[in-house]
Symmetry: none
Subunit: 232 residues, 2 copies
Amino acid sequence: MENVKVLIVDDEPNIRDLLSTSLRFAGFSVHAVGNGADAVNAAEKGAPDIILLDVMLPDMNGFSVTKKLRSMGINAPVLFLTARDETADKVTGLTVGGDDYMTKPFSLDEIVARINAILRRTKQVETEDSVLEVGEIKINQDAHEVYANGEPVDLSPTEYKLLRFLMSNPNRVLTKAQILDHVWEYDFNGEMGIVESYVSYLRKKLDPITSEPLIQTKRGVGYMYKSTKSSN
Amino acid sequence: MENVKVLIVDDEPNIRDLLSTSLRFAGFSVHAVGNGADAVNAAEKGAPDIILLDVMLPDMNGFSVTKKLRSMGINAPVLFLTARDETADKVTGLTVGGDDYMTKPFSLDEIVARINAILRRTKQVETEDSVLEVGEIKINQDAHEVYANGEPVDLSPTEYKLLRFLMSNPNRVLTKAQILDHVWEYDFNGEMGIVESYVSYLRKKLDPITSEPLIQTKRGVGYMYKSTKSSN
DNA sequence: GGTTGCTTTCAGGCGACTCTCAGGATTCAC
DNA sequence: GTGAATCCTGAGAGTCGCCTGAAAGCAACC
């Protein structure tokens, strides 16, 4: 997981900064550029392990950039970023090999998960495990499947993302603002009450199966996923 | 813990002085400015380890300042300060990476705790341990959990903050005024009798578990957390 | 086009927490 | 020993945060 190099290519500075900051915090080594030409240069010199590439760039589009890269022998997998309306037709044919694509706006937790999934598949570097198991809950991130005490649990996409975020920070209180910023799309404009709602949904599905409530409320602070094991 | 540089950005001189004084006393190296432009300059020259940033500034808002900072390669984590009513909409997207936010009015002890928590997570400098253990009481600050002789104790937020403050000054008498100033929000307008009440609450919860009363009354002066062990 | 499931908001209700007050207990000075 | 200051603590009013059910928007899928 150490020293994974990510190249970010996006012409919107906001997105670039957002991605840089949060991927750097997630432990990646980050380099960000704003157009296709710079991307080709940076990829040549920096030898990234994965490339985050906005499909619509000022100078060239995703097709051209990847074509150029491949012709230069740069085979790092690409995670394409596209606006929501330009989905199907523009992207088809792009995600060959280990590539993948995400629509904007995305959630920060989700993009880290996708990067790890791609690296796992292409296996060019050591990555996180695809199975996240904390206490009585087990998540298979490749299959998007959740088990509580071995019993499968059916979760909606948002429920799944929330649970994954909580489980990747066990025994640490997370504020509702942090949860909102990591689990919801970055342009989400609503209130934090939605976190309460989804915690309630998760509890309703999980608590009947587990031996004890796993998501604890820390009144006035936030929520915490409790793992009984690591009791220090 | 030595030589941690904090940059304070707030347009209200009162808040600026309050923060400067108390953070300096807490052992930080402090620099304070009153607007976004100065903040960018100061951050560039001073290379702070953490930035305290009011969201609403006269010239630019928190978003713009951080954007500018990030684009300049300054990746110091940011602790945002926001008024209580402008929480939801203004705050979304702020707690990226190691960042966090607090609502005004805050308590001084709380802000020091949050600064340490952020530095701990981003690990760019040596910081205090997340576990505070003095005598028979142990506090896990990440989980907001308290143990007395290994037994978990359930505390309200204010009880927790009071205990933490007492424990971080063991074997030293703290006056009620000091306690009020550090544990309660800076605009608290009530009487000091409330400290007596909360000390009473703490004793009722802790004394049955510990071998001896831990919070001692120094009549006419204040209270002291007694630690038999670390007598320095 | 209608059905279905998911997301998001909202409001009622409930329990927990904060803060105040006052009577009783303790300590200290003299 | 007496009085005065200080502290302790139980009771209570009011507030705040959190939970949850209900329902309105959305989007995807037959």
